[in-house]
């Protein structure tokens, strides 16, 4: 009881922290930040859009790390990490596309356009939906984990190539506003806009790691049930 009680308490604290951080982030994005000089109020969606994609990239990076570790050491926990991360990553990527559409309609005049970064993001989503499908369609746990790990690694290595090819193919998306190779982030964006953005990125990362820890714990519990059943011969 003692250990689970402590765990619950930790979860509670982490969850509350995520909730507060998102609340503060929303306050900064919706109230504190001034409206954009050109785009007006609709630009405020950036305070969700960029943090969501940052969290999604972190998720897919963790899938890659978990996959490599699993193939190397064959420890179940690395597989649980990759699986948990992939699920949240798929959710966040889908969310990014929806947010982008809501922003794109008033700004570009269309819900969707075949621009380089939009297309890359959509392909990324398709790859990791395939990853989750693959996991669910292989009955044998160990084999599912190995197959998924291989796909996770290949997917991660393929993404730069996809990005490059789609980028050459067409480019319409405005150049990255914040993370540009030629200038430091604070030179591309005014401080009153940058601070809310940073607050939101931090808030989304806290939320992401909270979701990840919940999903990871779920995976562990499933494992424990399976072991228990095997021991008792059910």
């Amino acid at each position: 009881m003692g250990e689970t009680g402590q765990l619950k308490k930790r979860k509670g604290i982490h969850g509350t922290l995520a909730l507060i951080a998102i609340g503060v982030g929303l306050y900064y994005g919706l109230v504190v930040a001034p409206p954009d000089a050109y785009q007006g109020e609709v630009q405020r969606i950036m305070y969700l859009h960029i943090p969501t994609i940052v969290a999604a990239y972190v998720a897919f990076f963790l899938v890659f790390v978990g996959s490599c570790l699993y193939l190397w050491k064959k420890e179940k926990r690395d597989d649980i990490l990759a699986h948990a991360s992939a699920e949240i990553g798929v959710f966040l990527t889908a969310l990014v596309i929806v947010e982008g559409s809501i922003w794109g309609k008033p700004t570009w005049g269309v819900w969707w356009t075949w621009d380089a970064r939009l297309t890359t993001t959509a392909i990324l989503l398709l790859i990791f939906i395939g990853y989750l499908l693959l996991r669910s369609l292989i009955e044998d746990e160990g084999r599912a984990a190995s197959a998924a790990a291989v796909l996770g690694i290949i997917g991660a290595l393929d993404i730069p190539l996809i990005h490059m090819s789609v980028y050459w193919w067409r480019t319409l998306h405005q150049p990255p506003s914040i993370f540009r190779p030629d200038k430091a982030p604070w030179e591309n964006i005014a401080w009153p806009l940058l601070i809310p953005l940073i607050v939101n990125i931090v808030a989304f990362l806290i939320l992401f790691f909270y979701l990840l820890s919940l999903r990871y714990r779920l995976g562990e519990m499933r494992e424990a049930i399976k072991t228990r059943r095997l021991e008792r011969g059910i």
């Binding site: 392909i123 395939g130 990853y131 796909l151 393929d158 996809i162 789609v166 193919w169």
Partner: protein, 225 residues
């Protein structure tokens, strides 16, 4: 040397099996021809428009026939637990990967060698002089397709509904190959030579090299029993 002779033996086995059964090659060939008919019914392919649409249509036909071949790639191994026997044999798994890739490549190239001239004939496209160049580019694209396709075919080997799953996981990963091949072919059709499309060809070559290497290194984990 050992590695190459193992690859050769495995490839030899597959070719001999295929010569006796004639399953994959015939179905792929007829499916490809069928697709050309479907294209004709779906699009109004007059000779003036064919140059514009040829790269996309040809590559679409190869993509679908190739997927058909990949779904059958490990069929012989699935029957009677032959895969277990193959894994028990003192073989390098990389050689198994290379042999399977070469076998699938061989099938697809044979199909392409028939389908491409047929395309020219059926749609009355007079630009026969472009055929060799277009074939070379197609060959590079096919290598990329076979390499990644073999890995994915092995991954989905033990999955339920694997024939449906295979294209779902394979096609998104194939985007660079599809884009690069079609851009190269378009340039050849337009200008008569590769011209501006050199970076695309380099991308295609890079893809082929990266994933062939990765396949040989990683196949041990892909196919473990």
């Amino acid at each position: 040397m050992e590695f190459l002779s193992q690859t050769y033996l495995l490839l030899h086995k597959d070719v001999r099996l295929e010569l006796r059964r004639r399953e994959s090659l015939l179905t792929m060939f007829f499916f490809g021809t069928l697709l050309l008919f479907v294209f004709h019914f779906s699009f109004d392919l007059v000779p003036e428009k064919i140059a514009e649409m040829a790269p996309g249509l040809l590559w679409l036909a190869f993509l679908f026939t190739g997927t058909l071949g990949l779904a059958q790639l490990f069929q012989a191994e699935r029957e009677n637990h032959c895969l277990d026997a193959l894994l028990l044999a003192p073989l390098d798994r990389g050689a198994l990967f290379l042999a399977k890739t070469c076998f699938n490549l061989l099938l697809m190239v044979l199909v392409e060698l028939v389908i491409m001239p047929l395309f020219w004939v059926l749609f009355d496209w007079r630009a026969w002089n472009l055929l060799p160049q277009l074939f070379l580019v197609t060959l590079l694209g096919t290598v990329g397709f076979c390499v990644l396709g073999t890995i994915m075919s092995a991954i989905t080997l033990r999955a339920r509904a694997r024939e449906l799953l295979l294209p779902l996981v394979l096609f998104p990963l194939m985007v660079p190959v599809i884009l690069a091949t079609i851009r190269c072919m378009e340039n050849i059709v337009r200008a008569g030579e590769l011209g501006d499309a050199w970076p695309w060809l380099r991308l295609l070559l890079g893809f082929d090299v990266i994933f062939t290497t990765l396949g040989i290194l990683i196949f041990d984990w892909v196919i473990e029993s």
